[in-house]
Amino acid sequence: MKILVAVKRVIDYNVQIRVKEDNTGVVTDNVKMSTNPPDDNAIEEAVKIKEAGKATEVIAVSIGEEKAQETVRKALAVGADRGILVKTEGILEPLAVSKLLQKIVEKEKPDLVFMGKQAIDDDCNQTGQMLSALLNWPQATFASKIEIKDKSLEVTREIDEGLETIEINVPAIVTCDLRLNEPRYASLPNIMKAKKKPIEQINASDLGVDTTPRIEQTKVEEPPKRKAGIKVSSVAELVQKLKNEAKVI
């Protein structure tokens, strides 16, 4: 079984987001970038499956500017075998990303494609489902447990009402939830080894996909600020305020 894992470079989850003064977007200059957190879970799961002898190769792919190579390199350092960087400039919507991934899938012919369930920058939660629609493959979104069977996977999905289990035949797409596993840290020797692993660079323009944005982002603003609250000194005061001031109990 061959597993392709898509990883996205995003602003690190610990960074306090600042909106640009001209309202065209958020500040990304000199801001720490990292792998989208659930994409780390996707890589971890693929590597674990390979370690268990149920996969033969794990390929990490990222789509973005030149620097997204760092994100691919990090995936190699935690166990992916080789990498692919699809180079693009400018804004890419999930529809365009899924079309580019479709081209990579057609070329690499993986049995499984893993990725995070959602990117923490645009919060779209679309790419995996779109890719599976384009390929007409089954999808298991928000996966918190994956069991590999012979020609299928049994996946437990986190849904609003609780948990759902489905069985999907390969080839298939799985989007990973944060509770799927505990991503490992890359050890120094593995970081050194990863530098020798190959990363193939492909220009998005060579893949014959129209990636022109369909959505115009006209303005980006700060969220409305909450007015400052107060500290209360006791539970009795809290309950009194909730009853008489806020009138919510």
Binding site: I120, D160, D177, R214, E216, E222, R226, A236
Partner: protein
């Protein structure tokens, strides 16, 4: 052209966010049609036809629609879509799972999780866990939009009498098989729609200690929430998680207990009308969004809270 709303239901009843999505749909265009796909879902279809904002119901039934598998649902909606300018659903796990499959098939760039309809092609949506809001304008002919349910009021569940039309079912997608659903049954209000939410975090220290949260929630007729840390630690099940990757809640009262207030948690609750934080760390970021902060040991504060509420004798129904 009309707007097509995808109803969410359990074959017997409508799921509540369908009413919020109907409101959002009606702000795009008043001619809202709703499609309900399921198995023996006549009762839910009837309830849908009674919503005040719905002008027509399209009912599609087959045994393979019983468990809402997106691979089965998407082609039905794609087929119906030629008569509609917009396809709308809630941005909960149902809509998140389904809508992108429809959008990709229609070659449309989906707009996810909108909090406001600016015009029929322009919407407001949170990005970066709600730390910024983007105004976005769709240039696609057909628009696929998911709405944040808590940002739109539910429509009236009665007063409508839309005709119910049946449409032909599609084929079954055999590569995906539903096995089981483990729903956590509870008599409490649903987390997404509750008027009061009491949430616990890592500060609860164990699943057993969550009974302190449960007692308070019982008293206030509240839903129970949790931070990701508490769910990851196994104190409580995933369906309680509030935050960027969990549920977004906007109750009248949100009580955060032993929750430090990571950006990702704040994303799910900071629009609540009144926020209370109880935490022994006075520097915890949760206090920056709290209307009322109590710096205290939760193991002392929660029993006292119950006691004070008992004194008040104003149990909310």
């Amino acid at each position: 052209m009309s707007v097509l709303l995808i109803a969410e239901h359990n074959n017997k009843e409508l799921r509540p966010f369908t009413l919020n999505a109907a409101t959002a749909a009606s702000q795009i265009d008043t001619d809202v049609h709703a499609v309900i796909i399921g198995h023996e879902c006549g009762a839910a279809a009837k309830a849908l036809s009674e919503l005040e904002l719905i002008k027509k119901v399209i009912q599609v039934e087959a045994p393979h629609y019983e468990n809402f598998v997106a691979e089965n649902f998407a082609p039905v909606i794609v087929k119906l879509s030629e008569n509609y300018s917009h396809i709308i659903s809630s941005a909960n796990t149902f809509g998140k799972n389904l809508m992108p499959r429809i959008a990709a098939a229609l070659d449309t760039s989906q707009i996810s999780d909108i909090t406001k309809v600016v015009s029929n092609d322009t919407f407001l949506r949170p990005i970066y866990a709600g730390n910024a809001f983007a105004t976005v304008k769709s240039k696609d002919n057909k628009k696929c939009v998911t709405i944040r349910p808590t940002s739109f009021d539910p429509c009236e569940s009665s007063g409508g009498s839309a005709p119910i039309e049946k449409a032909e079912a599609g084929e079954e997608f055999v590569q995906t098989k539903f096995i089981k659903r483990e729903e956590i049954k509870s008599d409490r209000p649903e987390l997404g729609t509750a008027r009061v939410v009491v949430s616990g975090g890592r500060g609860m220290q164990s699943g057993d200690n969550f009974k302190l949260i449960t007692s308070l929630a019982d008293k206030l007729n509240a839903a129970i929430g949790a931070s990701r840390a508490a769910v990851d630690a196994g104190y409580i099940s995933n369906d309680h998680q509030v935050g960027q990757t969990g549920k977004v809640v906007v109750p009248d009262l949100y009580i955060a207990v032993g929750i430090s207030g990571a950006i990702q948690h704040l994303a799910g609750m900071k629009e609540s009308k009144v926020i209370v934080a109880i935490n022994k760390d006075g520097e915890a970021p949760i206090f920056s969004v709290a209307d009322y902060g109590l710096e205290a040991d939760l193991f002392e504060a929660l029993p006292q809270f119950l006691e004070e509420l008992n004194k008040l004798n104003t149990i909310q129904k």
